[in-house]
Amino acid sequence: MSRLLQRLFGRLPIGWLQLTHNRTRFAAAIAGVAFANVLVFVQLGIMNSMAVATLRPYEFFRADIIISAADANAIADGGNVARQWMLQALANPDVIAGMGLFVANVPWDRGQTDISLTTFGIDPFKQDFISPKIAADLNLLQVNDAAILDRLARGITRDEAVAIRPQTPLSFETDGRTIKAYNTFSGGGGFGGDGYMLVSDQTFLSLFPARSSAAPDHILLRTRPGTSVDEVSEQLRGQISDSSLRIRSYADAMAEDLRYQQTRRPTGVIFGFGVFIGILVGLIIIYQVLSTDVADHLREYATFKAMGYGSRFFLGIVFEEALILGVFGFIPGLIVGTTILTVMAKVTTLPLSMTLVMAASVFVGTIAVSSLSGAIATRRVAAADPADLF
């Protein structure tokens, strides 16, 4: 390692030699940096999973424009939208199809654990609005009280999910009605529910008798191929009588939902703050290590100054140490962070995982924070006065 660094820097790797001279302290420093990395990884992992979980239900459907109530910040939030606005929208020549989307949580008493399924009521005859992965099973929903169940929902075992087939449906009761799940799709637990379920709009209305077929939660629209979704959205905003409605492209709705979850909901703010705290802890740890190291070697630095070494040489040493700590702290941080996220994903069924983007951004962040700490620590080198050596 020493030789490699010597070739890299074109001089003796003083920083490396200083750090490794006291191996216990070096190990403690690396552990500190790794700890800060783990903090950031876990918080980023949770934030990332929140993003994945937030956007996941949007992936069940295919639409270009979504019409929602004014207070609908998320797909499962907000009031109803009158179906008549769908008919008004369909009057626009660039809108070729529309579908009402119903959303509510359905409790499922599983004995020892109760789970809550975010349930979407859809028109089973409108396959164009459903993800191709699910669309093939849509005809199963034409039967009353039929459902397609999220096989990754919390509380549903793998064996149980595998056994669900049209020939061997899984029956369960909710609010006095018996629902039969004829097939499964891939969803997963999120922050607002334990999983998902798709039913027909008729079944949905049977489950929620207080709801009206004339007032779905959202209206999904498909536009003519080749038209500008933004332009059509703008046209619809002028065309539909209720100006309080949110008429957005489906992509904008997804982005706004994500932004809302990450910046307005307490959980998102907490996780974001956790990332900030992790970065701050890393900065403080690396600065503390470098600052102590500089203080411990002031006499040696003063000697080098007396010998004729300039400030660039000392900056080089401190940055060398910062980079070494950053790189060596990142590796165990990545391993421990990945392990924690994997375990957490198994326990919570949240989509927690280490992604390449996360790893790369934390690595770049670690190097940046290390360099910043190094830049602050180099100020202490100025205290090394060679005249004090005599």
Partner: protein, 241 residues
Amino acid sequence: METPDRDVIEVRGLNHWFGIGDARKQALYDLNFAIEAGSFTVLMGPSGSGKTTVLTLLGCLRGVQDGSVRLLGEQLNGARETTLMTLRRRLGFIFQAHNLHESLTALQNVIMGVQVHGDVSDELAHKAAVHVLELVGLSDRINYLPANLSGGQKQRVAVARALVGNPALVLADEPTAALDADSASEVVDLLKRLGRSRGTTTLLVTHDSRILERADRILVLEDGRVVSDTAPRTAQKRHHP
């Protein structure tokens, strides 16, 4: 006044103060002396006499406030920091506490004395460092850390580090203070022998009277003034009547 080529150091009318305002105290008074190239000069005097101040001024570690100091042909009064840094690379320093880098081996410490010149290859720096360590009798200790060397060995490494870059002038501050008589004698002999063979001028600050007989010249400072500038025997007599 022109500095003759044979003088490495020429000091004229040097005054120096520490502190400001009412706390300002003069440490050096109108010093005048020159040191010839290749000589082995000892600077003596009681504590607080100004020896260290002289050493730090000649070592370009402090700015000259008043008077003239010509070092290796360069005027230090008013010199820029880059000039002082460049001059320091032509000097060799030996400190009382050796000041070796505890994380570096003896060899690496000596290499630092070569690498400061920047234009030396790793291979050449390594060879030069090994050669000087052999000269100071530490060929079997080149990969030892300072913690594993005796006091005398550490000071010999410090001598090697000071000499490896072939400096024009070596400034040594009490290099034998922490050593026993044998080690002290070895280090001074080494310094004088290697300095002479390489044409290096040595200015050594000491309280150690054992060194005096080896000096070509002895300067004695008292209260910031040169009170004696003589050959060894005369100086010893004056200092220890």
